[in-house]
């Protein structure tokens, strides 16, 4: 994370607030309020940690209680059965919970089908399994665990004072960590995963690693919070630890406050806790629970992004953000072709080579042994009727699909079995035929993500580069809009900008012209020529034949998963086999 001025300002602000709150127990304020504040710190920590995985990355978890409970019982067991000093149980609990979380993530995140509701189901199940195990083994055994005799340092002259301080410290830590993730490259990656995980992976985001990181942080924090909880209640039972409220409240608070913002859950936690505290235990408590649940329904239906975005809108009007300056005219923004690339281009050297590539889907061979070479600095047109395998070939080259047989070599490296994000890092980028932008990231951030993960820039540098690319593709005015507000032409050019921002050596353009009118097509073709002149090799999949002929150095024709022609455009398009594929045998001769 870049430690720029405003980041330091925010963190300093958090520390100051914490320091002020630290003074509270030293005053003669009633213990009731101290306990109440601790409760707020507790829920802020729980809700905010939940959102790192669920709000940011979109993996809604109903299992936060599992990690919390692990922490609770880890601390209780270590303190009572192994006589650990209490303060050491806090990090231990956190680490154990993080281990559980990471273990679950490692098993589950590699299975693509287990997203969305199935992931939520697994997390509920894990919660109940953990509860059952704890309940049926000597860890708890059904009778609960007493921590009354566990000794603790007394800050501010009392145990509650210590608990308050610990709760505050954990809360501060949670906020700093979450803010840090939010403002970092990892945060950008997590948001992209939320919107479209497959595209994020192809743009270079290491999705598996980031998701593991998110669940490790979320679970670890919940575990640490659990250990402080255990000493606070001093008698822990399975029933109370794994209550439905523990499962539900972080979800409600986060969604209510705004799960995509680092402050959202904290806001939601404060409001909900205050609202609930009006109802002490007893039958009214049940109603209060129902009321909170009703609130969740209303929020999901009416305010799906929570309260925070509305606040942010007001804030933006009050304190407009500084726009990254965008040059008026495109001076040489894009660096000149790298020297080695220019030399390679002169020699017609091969930059990408497919040998006998076979890809099968459940019995059907989509690619039947395609052998194709792409030369440095050329524009290679890739054409063929529907179903000929063009999209499959692109998906195999970018790593979205793994090869079944054959090999793909890119600048000396075999890439046929690499995960997509590594292929992106090596220098291959693509645009999507039907644009797939990250709909909840701004246009600027869409491009910045590609610059950051495809070209390896830090977050702020990536945004500056993104601004340049937006200028280059004519989207500068739309930098802070969201993709749904763009028309088709603009979304296609956004795809192009994203592809370019990764500064790839090879750019695969998948039907970038479809849906554009004549003027727009000509604009696009000019851009494509310019991109090539600056050193990028382009593979250009298109159906608009006049465009392909105009722009390509060579054309490759696929039909039924096999390559049937490769060479000079005029020669290829008059080749009898190619003509017969399109127009029937009668015309071939």
């Amino acid at each position: 994370m870049d430690l720029t001025r405003d980041r330091i300002r925010v963190i300093a602000g958090l520390v100051v607030v914490a320091a002020l709150l630290l003074i509270v127990p030293a005053t003669s304020i009633a213990p009731y309020y101290i306990a109440f504040l601790y409760l707020i710190f507790f829920w802020i920590s729980m809700a905010t940690s939940w959102t790192i995985l669920s709000g940011f990355a979109g993996y809604w978890s109903f299992g936060h209680a599992a990690f919390f409970g692990t922490g609770v019982y880890a601390a209780a067991t270590l303190a009572t059965k192994f006589d650990w000093p209490f303060l050491w149980t806090i990090p231990a609990a956190g680490l154990l919970a993080a281990a559980l979380g990471t273990g679950i993530g490692w098993l589950v995140f590699r299975l693509q089908r287990l997203r969305g509701e199935l992931f939520a189901l697994i997390t509920i199940s894990v919660t109940f399994v953990v509860a059952a195990i704890i309940s049926n083994t000597p860890i708890d055994g059904g009778s609960g665990v007493y921590l009354i005799s566990v000794s603790m340092p007394e800050l501010f002259g009392s145990q509650p004072g210590t608990i308050y301080t610990l709760g505050l410290a954990l809360c501060l830590m949670t906020m700093v960590i979450t803010y840090g993730v939010y403002r970092s490259r990892m945060g950008l990656g997590l948001f992209a995963i939320h919107d479209d995980e497959d595209v994020a992976e192809v743009k270079g985001v290491p999705t598996f690693r980031y998701k593991l990181g998110a669940i490790a942080l979320a679970s670890g924090i919940a575990g640490a919070v659990g250990s402080v909880y255990s000493i606070n209640v001093s008698y822990v039972t399975v029933g109370e630890t794994f209550e439905i409220t523990t499962i539900m409240y972080p979800v409600v608070m986060s969604i209510f406050g705004g799960s995509r913002h680092w402050l959202g859950p904290a806001l939601g936690a404060i409001i909900v806790t205050i609202a609930l505290y009006g109802f002490p235990a007893g039958p009214e408590a049940a109603l209060a629970r129902g009321g909170v649940a009703l609130g969740l329904i209303l929020v999901v239906l009416l305010l799906p992004d929570g309260v925070m975005p509305s606040i942010m809108r007001v804030w933006r009007r009050v304190a407009p953000r500084s726009l990254v300056p965008i040059p008026a005219l495109p001076e040489p923004l894009i660096p000149a072709p790298r020297a080695e690339e220019a030399a390679l281009a002169a020699r017609h050297a091969t930059v990408l080579e497919c040998k006998d590539v076979v890809k099968t889907f459940g019995g059907v061979q989509a690619l039947k042994g395609v052998t194709l070479d792409v030369r440095q600095g050329e524009i290679l047109g890739l054409v063929g009727p529907n179903g000929s395998g063009k999209s499959t070939l692109i998906n195999v080259i970018t790593g979205h699909f793994r090869l079944d047989r054959g090999s793909i070599n890119f600048a000396g490296t075999a890439i046929g079995h690499l995960p997509a994000h590594q292929v992106a890092r090596l220098g291959i980028a693509r645009s999507y035929q039907i644009p797939r932008p990250f709909n909840r990231l701004t246009v600027l951030d869409n491009v910045a993500l590609a610059a950051s993960f495809g070209d390896g820039h830090g977050e702020d540098e990536a945004r500056r580069m993104a601004a340049h690319w937006l200028g280059y593709t004519g989207l500068a005015r739309k930098a802070f809009d969201y993709p749904p507000a763009l028309n088709l032409h603009e979304r296609k050019f956004l795809e192009l900008a994203r592809g370019l921002a990764a500064r790839p050596r090879v750019l695969l353009l998948d039907e970038v012209l479809s849906g554009l009118n004549n003027t727009e097509v000509d604009e696009a073709l000019t851009l494509i020529h310019d991109i090539r002149d600056r050193g990028t090799t382009i593979i250009f999949v298109e159906h608009l034949m006049r465009a392909v002929n105009q722009v390509s150095d060579r054309i490759a024709v696929l039909n039924g998963g096999a390559l049937i022609a490769l060479g000079d455009p005029k020669a290829v398009m008059s080749d009898s086999e190619v003509v017969s594929v399109y127009l029937g045998k009668a015309h071939a001769s």
């Binding site: 809604w60 109903f62 098993l107 589950v108 299975l111 089908r113 287990l114 969305g116 509701e117 199935l118 939520a120 189901l121 697994i122 509920i124 199940s125 894990v126 109940f128 399994v129 059952a132 195990i133 309940s135 049926n136 059904g142 439905i244 539900m248 979800v251 409600v252 969604i255 039958p283 049940a286 109603l287 209060a288 629970r289 129902g290 909170v292 649940a293 009703l294 969740l296 329904i297 999901v300 239906l301 799906p304």
Partner: protein
Amino acid sequence: MFHASLIEQSLITGILAGGLYGLLALGLSLSWGLLRLVNLGHFAIALLGAYLTWWMGTALDIAPWWAGLLIIAAFFIYGIALHWVFMRFGVTEMQSMLITFAFAVIVESTLQFLWTADFRRYETAWGTQSWVVGTLYVPKLSLIAFLVAGALAVATWAWLRYTYVGRALRACAEDAPIATAYGINHRALSFLLSGLCAAYAGVAGVFIALIATLAPSQIWAWVGVVFAVVIIGRLGNPIGALIGGVFIGVCEALTMAVINPSWAPLVSFSVLIAFLLFRPRWI
């Protein structure tokens, strides 16, 4: 060491319990498989139905069969209303999960508010009666529940397979736009199905009242079991729901007999996790 008849009795208990599980899973399997909505509130309204049956029986002296009819009718309407809300707000699968989860909490807290967290038992004449076969006891009500579950499962399966409306529902689940192109009114059918699933929950609720002990927290106890049953039996498959129910019921019963009763809840969740991890293509 183990009485042979202990195992056999457990099998009987398990199979019959499986019938009730299957009954409960039926509505959920259909709505998840055919409507693509995850209804976490399914058990909640089933339990609500159970409480209503008990209350009408004990406070108003209405026989369970009549209470059941009222409940089924009311729940059918509730199902349509719920679906209307989902359609009106364009709710996604994930959002439906959150909303129905919240709804389950509302039902649970209302039940607790009205009738406290104490356990309730609906005492009826047949409640304690069993048929005796050799050394084995077959509780009458459980058997009836099992038979009703079987009948409903088969009837639903036949409806989905052999009637125009049933086939239309399956077609909509696979490819709604093309189904529409062939004259199927997707919207109207989805309302019908939603009402039906809620009605099934009502039927399950009546039998829960007659067989099991009631407490608001029961809602969460059923979650793992029913989801496990639905997934094993495959989404949208009525007979699968029954078979899955019996499978889980038997596993649980044997666990209770051979290992320890308190480990029983673990069984369904573990099966669920195992299925999701190792056979994610199954559903």
